[in-house]
C-alpha cells in the first residue's frame, strides 16, 4: 500500500473529527491543497502522523483557532493583480454610484489587504461615505489581524507599485503611517468596514450586496462547494450586482454560474442576471 493512501485515511479521519467535534466541515475542500495544509499543520504541532494531530485537537479544543488558521493560510497583498483594481475603478464603481447606499461584501478577507485596497478605491471615487463594506472570514486569527490593519513595511513598496499600476492617483503612503518595520492603515479607512466571522461552507445570506469580491478563495473548494458558494453569492446580490473572483478561477463546472454574465473575462468580473 502507498504511504499516501494511509495518509489519505488519516486526513479523512482528521476532517471527520473537526466536523463531529467542532462543526467545521472541510470535507468539500479541494483535496490536493488541503492535504498540503494538513501536513504542514501536523509538522507545526510536532505530530509524526496526521492521526496524532486529530487526537491532539480533539483533546485540546483551545488549539482550534490555530488549527483553523493553519487550514486557511491567508496570503494576499494590497491591490494584488492591479488590472483588476483598475477594472473595478473604471467599470464597476461608476455604475455603483447610482445607488444611494452601496453594500460591498468581501468574502474571505484574510489579513485585510484587499479590503483596505477597496476602501481606498471607494474614497478616491467619492463613494466611501455611502458605502458599507462587510469583510468576512471564518478564520478569527486572521480577522483580528485584518481589523488591526497593520502590515509589514517590507511589503509597502510592492503595495505602492500595485496601487499605481491599478490606477491610483495619489501616493499610497497618504493612507498609512509607517512605524519601524510596520505600516498601519489610516483609521478613517475602517469607518465603513464591518469585520465579521462568516463561514462560506455553512453560513447563509446576511446582506443585499451590490458588489461581492471573493478572490482566490473558491480555488480551495471542490466543484460542489464552489457551486454552493456561487449560489450563496447569487442569492446575496441585487439584480445586476457585481461579482469579482480571482483572475485564474474557473466556474464552468458550476450550475450556478449561469446566474452570472461575464463583463470582464480577464479580471473575472461578472454581473448577476435576473433569476
Amino acid at each position: 500500500m502507498f504511504r499516501s493512501s494511509i495518509e489519505d485515511i488519516e486526513i479523512e479521519l482528521f476532517v471527520h473529527a473537526l466536523k463531529r467535534r467542532f462543526g467545521h466541515d472541510f470535507s468539500n475542500y479541494a483535496p490536493a491543497s488541503l492535504k498540503r495544509r494538513v501536513r504542514l499543520l501536523a509538522r507545526q504541532f510536532k505530530c509524526d502522523h496526521i492521526s496524532d494531530l486529530a487526537s491532539k485537537v480533539l483533546h485540546n479544543p483551545q488549539l482550534l483557532p490555530d488549527v483553523i488558521a493553519g487550514l486557511s493560510v491567508p496570503v494576499s497583498e494590497m491591490f494584488r493583480d492591479p488590472p483588476v483594481f483598475r477594472a473595478l475603478r473604471d467599470e464597476v464603481l461608476p455604475r455603483l454610484a447610482s445607488y444611494p447606499e452601496i453594500n460591498i461584501w468581501q468574502a474571505g478577507c484574510a489579513f485585510g489587504q484587499e479590503v483596505y485596497s477597496l476602501a481606498i478605491l471607494l474614497k478616491e471615487a467619492g463613494l466611501y461615505e455611502r458605502s458599507h463594506i462587510y469583510a468576512t472570514d471564518f478564520n478569527d486569527v486572521a480577522l483580528a489581524r485584518a481589523q488591526e490593519g497593520i502590515f509589514a513595511a517590507r511589503d509597502a513598496k510592492l503595495y505602492s507599485r500595485n496601487y499605481q499600476e491599478g490606477g491610483g492617483t495619489r501616493s499610497l503612503s497618504d493612507y498609512y503611517h509607517a512605524r519601524y518595520e510596520f505600516i498601519k492603515m489610516d483609521e478613517s479607512l475602517k469607518e465603513r468596514i464591518t469585520f465579521a466571522n462568516h463561514n462560506l461552507v455553512c453560513d447563509s445570506v446576511f446582506c443585499e450586496a451590490h458588489l461581492i469580491i471573493c478572490r482566490n478563495v473558491l480555488i480551495y473548494f471542490n466543484d460542489e462547494l464552489q457551486d454552493h458558494v456561487l449560489k450563496l453569492f447569487s442569492d446575496s446580490l441585487v439584480r445586476g450586482g457585481y461579482l469579482c473572483i480571482g483572475n485564474r478561477e474557473n466556474i464552468q463546472f458550476s450550475a450556478s454560474a449561469t446566474d452570472f454574465m461575464a463583463i470582464d473575462r480577464q479580471s473575472r468580473i461578472y454581473r448577476r442576471m435576473p433569476h
Binding site: S33, V75, S76, G246, F253
Partner: protein, 200 residues
C-alpha cells in the same frame, strides 16, 4: 516486469529554463501519448507570452493550465504565474495561492508531489536547469511512489544547481542531456504501436 508507460510528464525548470524547454519540446514526437505539465520560474506575470515563445518551436499545442480542467494527452500545459499548480486525485488541475516555497510560486515541489500522488508509477518527472533546489523534494516523492525520475545532466545544464540538488536528494533513473532526454521521452511515450508509425 516492465515499468508502466508514463501517462503524465511533469517538468520543472528555473534559470535558463526557457532555452532548455525550447530544445526539449522542439524534439518531442507530435504524436506523444502523454500530457506534459511545466512549472517554470520566471519574472513574468503573464505566462501566456511564455507559452507563445515555446509554441514557436514545438509541434505540440501549448497553453496555460486552466483551473479545474482535465489535461489532455499530447498537450503541454504551463503553470500560471503567482499560483501553485497541483494535480487533484481525480487528475484535474487545482490551484492554490499558499505561501511561496523557497521563494517560488508556482513551486516545482508542489506540482511534483501532487502529481506523484495522483499518478504513482505512471508519472515521469524531469528536473532541468536552475539556480535553486526546487524540485528535489518533489522528485524524491515521485520516486517513492514508483514514478520515473529524469534529471538534466549537470554538465549539459546552463545552471547546474537545480539538477545537482535533485540528484543529491532524490537520485535519478536517468541523467541525460536534452537531446537524449527527448529521445527517451519519445520512446517511452510515443505512439504505442511501432508498426503504425508512418515514418518507418
Amino acid at each position: 516486469m516492465d515499468s508502466p508507460r508514463p501517462t503524465c510528464i511533469v517538468i520543472g525548470a528555473s534559470a535558463g529554463g526557457i532555452g532548455a524547454l525550447r530544445i526539449l519540446l522542439s524534439r518531442m514526437d507530435p504524436r506523444l501519448c502523454a500530457m506534459i505539465v511545466i512549472v517554470s520560474h520566471t519574472g513574468s506575470t503573464d505566462m501566456r507570452n511564455f507559452c507563445d515563445v515555446l509554441a514557436e518551436q514545438s509541434a505540440l499545442p501549448i497553453e496555460e493550465a486552466c483551473e479545474r480542467t482535465r489535461p489532455q494527452p499530447g498537450h503541454v500545459y504551463v503553470a500560471p504565474s503567482g499560483y501553485h499548480l497541483l494535480f487533484e486525485p481525480d487528475g484535474r488541475f487545482g490551484f492554490s495561492v499558499d505561501s511561496k516555497i523557497g521563494f517560488s510560486r508556482p513551486s516545482i515541489d508542489v506540482l511534483f508531489e501532487s502529481a506523484a500522488e495522483a499518478f504513482g508509477p505512471t508519472l515521469a518527472a524531469i528536473v532541468l536547469t536552475g539556480a535553486n533546489s526546487d524540485g528535489a523534494a518533489g522528485l524524491l516523492r515521485v520516486r517513492e511512489l514508483g514514478g520515473l525520475a529524469i534529471v538534466q545532466d549537470p554538465d549539459d545544464a546552463e545552471i547546474d544547481t537545480m539538477p545537482r540538488a535533485a540528484l543529491e536528494l532524490a537520485g535519478a533513473d536517468h541523467c541525460l542531456d536534452l537531446r537524449s532526454m527527448a529521445t527517451l521521452v519519445n520512446s517511452l511515450c510515443g505512439p504505442r504501436d511501432e508498426s503504425e508509425d508512418p515514418l518507418r
